[in-house]
């Protein structure tokens, strides 16, 4: 038979390989090297980490391909990059470069306020953010091969990541106790495709891997998100905005693997120096919260 490429199994398959790991935001080759040496299972190539995007304001776009290329040349682990929500041309550029995963991300300024990218049309896999089950299933319906909860990127405050993971997992658990006749009404309420709702009700889990993002700053944060149901963690500003990035990166990798073992989380939490400063969510005006981007 002829070999097939770009299948959903290959797309979710790479996400399976990232499970139990940490995907770190990096802005240059040097940071990418630090991330890989600390045990990152992948890196997200960015021009600025989310906390700087938040501070600088303006329009945040796809990263300069030259920066992404330099990072791809530096590390042997998968390299991801972000495109703006709905910006399928940025996505085509990233695919042409050979990035391993595209994050259609609320951290960048949306290019389209109505429509997300048709991710089925690509060979490269996509990850998308969500705040709840309905949003997760809409993105999966569009072809996302991995879901991450949005949290509130660039804050170093895990509260929104927790809120979104609890909402997602609670939504999944609820589907498993509904009767078959209740599922269409639930699909309507969730604004989610009926077939996916039936699948989740049957399996008690999303049909694609489910990771966490948006506010993880400490090893204990990373272990907490695993305990709440995250199969891996994205860490953005939390590493390279801390006092000791290499130490914090290594510790977060350990806490993500050994999240059930509090003694290991304890050991790796010692002497890390100052974590990133962090922002109280209520001080961020509603319009400036990244999580509200996309639907």
């Amino acid at each position: 038979m002829t070999d097939s490429i770009g299948t959903l199994r290959l797309k979710t398959g790479l996400a399976e390989m990232l499970k139990g790991g940490v995907i770190m935001d990096v802005t240059n080759a040097e940071q990418a090297r630090i991330a890989e040496d600390a045990g990152a299972c992948a890196v997200m190539a960015l021009e600025r980490v989310p906390s700087d995007i938040r501070r600088d304001g303006g329009v945040a776009r796809m990263t300069d391909p030259r920066i992404i290329e330099q990072i791809m040349e530096t590390v042997s682990i998968p390299v991801m990059a972000k495109c703006r929500i709905g910006h399928f041309t940025e996505a085509r550029v990233l695919e042409a470069m050979g990035v391993d995963y595209i994050d259609e991300s609320e951290v960048l300024t949306p290019a389209d306020e109505e429509f997300h990218v048709d991710k089925h049309a690509f060979t490269v896999p996509f990850v998308c953010g969500c705040r709840n089950l309905g949003e997760a299933l809409r993105r999966i319906g569009e072809g996302a091969a991995m879901i991450r909860t949005k949290g509130e990127a660039g804050t170093g405050n895990v509260v929104e990541a927790v809120r979104h993971m609890r909402a997602l997992m609670g939504g999944i658990r609820r589907l498993t106790i509904l009767g078959p006749e209740e599922l269409m009404a639930e699909a309507k309420n969730l604004g989610a495709p009926y077939e996916l709702v039936r699948m989740v009700a049957r399996d008690g889990k999303l049909p694609v891997p489910n990771f966490s993002a948006g506010g993880i700053a400490t090893p204990a944060d990373a272990a907490l998100m695993r305990a709440l149901g995250a199969e891996a963690n994205f860490v953005g500003s939390g590493i390279f905005k801390s006092q000791n990035p290499a130490l914090v990166a290594k510790a977060i990798v350990r806490a993500t693997t050994h999240w059930q073992d509090a003694k290991i989380v304890l050991e790796v939490s010692k002497g890390l120096g100052d974590p990133m400063k962090g922002i109280e969510i209520s001080t961020i005006p509603e319009a400036e919260r990244l999580q509200g981007r996309g639907w």
Binding site: M17, D37, E231, T257
Partner: protein, 188 residues
Amino acid sequence: MPPVGVLALQGDYDAHAKALARCGAAPLEIRRVAQLDGLAGLVIPGGESSTLLNLMRDEPWFEALRAFHARGASLFGTCAGAILLSREVRHPAQESLALLDATIERNAYGRQVDSFETDLAVSVLAAPLGVAFIRAPRFVQLGAGVEVLAAHADAPVLVREGRVVAATFHPEITGADDLHAWWLGTLA
């Protein structure tokens, strides 16, 4: 069923555990060296070999896995697992367990857009096996004592040397359980 485990430091250990469970085994997730005691076999899953290697430096994993092999237990590595088991790793060079007399090159087929699914004829199985190659490595040299159980495009992709079996592909994510069932059958 023999007691088996899946190395669960990072990677698709859950997919392997589910495949083994569908074959009737009760696999344990192994995250600490001490958990190897009493196992007849261990799967080293797919994932990132550099991440696994990094986490394996926290405990004496290398000594423990070599002793595990020496006492008669079996190892089955897929993709990153095959890289860790090989004697020499290239692209880039990295440390490995050297329990399989092979040289292996990482990411030898390209990036994720070059990942592919195919049906493989496997010498020890009756029916073709539907498998996935994901950012796969390639064996570039095998020792005389290494038996090739399957090849794709002239490259060996499934090999065995004594109690070590290594695949550059993933049988665990396509639901092709025949290879897991065969491996369980080889355990003492």
